[in-house]
Symmetry: C2
Subunit: 206 residues, 2 copies
């Protein structure tokens, strides 16, 4: 098994935190997105989607979605479960994973990729070029400020996002909150529950 990733980028960071929390070590090669190594011939031969992370299994199967890789690794390493153990926990974790993706990660990625010069013609990840759409920057900001109070309200009544324990949903949210700095956003002062949760989550991963 070999992992191709770039730990600094938000999406791969979700996997890095998952592995760190569970104490999983895999032979890893960093693919430097700052040098556009994911777009080179060498990496395209490994992952035609030209995205990281990508986990190459010993039989040649490639897993190239974070949630797929985490699902696979959780089955192999059930200790310190992060994807839930009961039916309801499993449902809540995957629900939040999806909700944070649509409500926070896509908006943040829209804000970054449709404004930064480094993403000119690279408004979407993957092998195809897409022009930047400046309107998506403001739309992303509006979406972001819709979900933040909702998350704050959710965390008013519970310590962790998806239920009683720390889960992958908290990792998703932690990475998304840190991603906000990339577009010069931060958690509003009035979101006190979200701020308190952020310190708890960081401590959990320390």
């Amino acid at each position: 098994m070999k992992l191709y990733t770039y730990d600094r980028a938000p999406n791969p960071r979700r996997l890095a935190m998952f592995m760190q929390y569970k104490g999983i070590a895999i032979e890893t090669q960093q693919v430097d997105l700052m040098k556009a190594e994911q777009l080179g011939e060498q990496f395209r031969a490994i992952n035609p989607a030209q995205t990281v992370p990508a986990l190459l299994l010993d039989d040649g199967t490639l897993l190239s979605e974070v949630i797929g890789i985490c699902t696979y690794l959780e089955e192999l390493h059930p200790d310190r479960p992060l994807l839930g153990t009961t039916a309801l926990e499993k449902a809540q974790v995957i629900s939040w994973d999806h909700r944070l993706f649509t409500g926070m990660v896509i908006p943040l990625a829209d804000m970054l990729r449709n404004s930064a010069e480094a993403f000119r013609n690279r408004a979407l990840p993957g092998p195809y070029d897409f022009a930047q759409l400046p309107e998506l920057v403001e739309r992303g900001r509006l979406q972001l400020h819709c979900i933040l109070p909702e998350l704050d309200a959710q965390l008013a009544g519970q310590a962790w996002l998806a239920g009683d324990g720390f889960t992958f949903a908290d990792i998703d949210l932690l990475v998304a909150v840190d991603f906000m700095a990339w577009v010069k956003e931060s958690v509003p002062a009035e979101c006190t529950h979200l701020k308190a949760w952020y310190e708890r989550a960081k401590a959990e991963l320390a």
Copy 2:
């Protein structure tokens, strides 16, 4: 347990097919999206996100993401598994679910919601208004025609999308292919493997 849904819409249809295939019956109330019932006070009290489907559990917990509801129901009704049984199958199904969402469902929703008069100021689902961005129609079309040949190539070597058996990934794809008609798109003639798979998948659900 009570399900609020609108079987005709693409996203709820994924759940309807999942339940039909597994033979799961739940007390159900249709929320008529054509009459904007999801935006009314009555439904907002049930699901503040104002989206369907939403599954209300007996303890008052609400599950409002399709993948979360399916995860919950698969645990309760493991017969005729649709989310995979081995570690690799589970990983492949959830990976495809996510990949189809980003690469096909969002592009199709962008095409529909940013062009149809019925979605004026409703370019994104949920409780908030968002202006239509006509540029997303063409971007959605480009994205759609990127993923279709990839799906065709994937299905050249295997009968089902996520591995040896029919899974929820096939349901996701079937609903997405049918969704194409809403924006006057169809599977290109040269995607023969995808076309053959479509007939197989429809037969599996008949």
